[in-house]
């Protein structure tokens, strides 16, 4: 690992922590969302610097989309989206601080007490190829499971979030065509 990489890692690491702390200290919900985005973009940067460019860039891509959608929900559900009226939205702050502090101390102690093994093999030339190959070969089951989990999430989230069923759309005898929808679509159904 060269000097540039070390400097980049240090800078990205400090920034990730700073933005991570800001998430729970800022008042404005928009700023909170985008400081979480900044923290996770730093995480993606660290991943890329550690030799995983594909996963790093994909993390950045996904997190931007995810956090922008999250901002929409933040604005929709929070009482104080712009932080113009500062208020505390915490409960059991002392307990939470104690628990998370203890967890951090335990993790840090483990990190420095465990004698980690040495590097076993050299890095592959193309790390993107390595992960792609693994997901389509020996880790195929993982990939299939992730696919099913995502499918179940899509169906489940849609069912939970929608408040109109098929009787609302197609009438009591399910024979109403076209369906009665609040907004029209582009393919003329």
């Amino acid at each position: 690992m060269g000097t540039t990489d070390t400097v980049l890692l240090a800078a990205l690491g400090v920034l990730a922590l700073v933005f991570g702390v800001l998430v729970f200290t800022l008042n404005s919900m928009a700023r909170v969302t985008f400081s979480l985005l900044a923290a996770l973009v730093c995480v993606g940067g660290i991943t890329a610097v550690l030799g995983l460019p594909y996963l790093g860039v994909v993390i950045v891509l996904m997190m931007v989309m995810e956090m922008v959608i999250m901002a929409v929900f933040m604005i929709a559900y929070m009482m104080n989206p712009a932080g113009l009226m500062p208020m505390s939205m915490l409960h059991n702050k002392r307990g939470a601080l104690t628990i998370s502090g203890l967890v951090f101390v335990a993790l840090a102690a483990g990190i420095f007490l465990v004698s980690w093994p040495d590097r076993t093999a050299s890095r592959p030339r193309d790390t993107t190829f390595q992960v792609g190959r693994a997901l389509m070969a020996e880790q195929m089951l993982t990939m299939v499971l992730l696919g099913f989990v995502l499918l179940a999430t899509m169906v489940g989230a849609t069912v939970l979030a929608t408040h109109r069923g098929r009787y609302d759309r197609f009438g009591d005898d399910l024979d109403q065509r076209p369906a009665k929808d609040p907004a029209g679509g582009g393919v003329g159904r």
């Binding site: 070390t6 890692l9 702390v21 923290a39 996963l55 995810e66 559900y77 990190i111 999430t153």
Partner: protein, 101 residues
């Protein structure tokens, strides 16, 4: 030493996220805490892959799984928030106490 310091960073992100998930009242803010925790997991997995076992793809697969977990967590979180808000105008955990098992 870089290896241990990056792990400490991962632990820091994880603990910060844990504090948020435990202390925040709003469901959306709890989800942000969980996202930060998974971010810590990603950093740790990339670190382990780079410094301990770069020959095996398992570290990368863990990151893929963590990213999927983030997406699933967010989608389901928003769906549940939308459902519970629609049912009783609640978006705070303390007001949804009857969901306790």
């Amino acid at each position: 030493m870089t290896f241990e310091l990056i792990l400490v960073l991962a632990a820091g992100l994880f603990s910060t996220g844990l504090f948020g998930a435990l202390s925040q009242q709003s469901i959306v803010m709890i989800m942000m805490g969980i996202e930060l925790m998974i971010g810590g997991v990603i950093v740790a997995a990339a670190d382990f892959w780079h410094f301990l076992a770069p020959g095996a793809p398992s570290g990368q697969v863990v990151i893929v799984a963590a990213v999927v977990a983030m997406a699933v967590e967010m989608a389901m979180g928003f769906a549940v928030t939308t459902a519970i808000y629609r049912a009783r105008r609640v978006d705070m955990t303390d007001m949804a106490g009857e969901l306790k098992g």
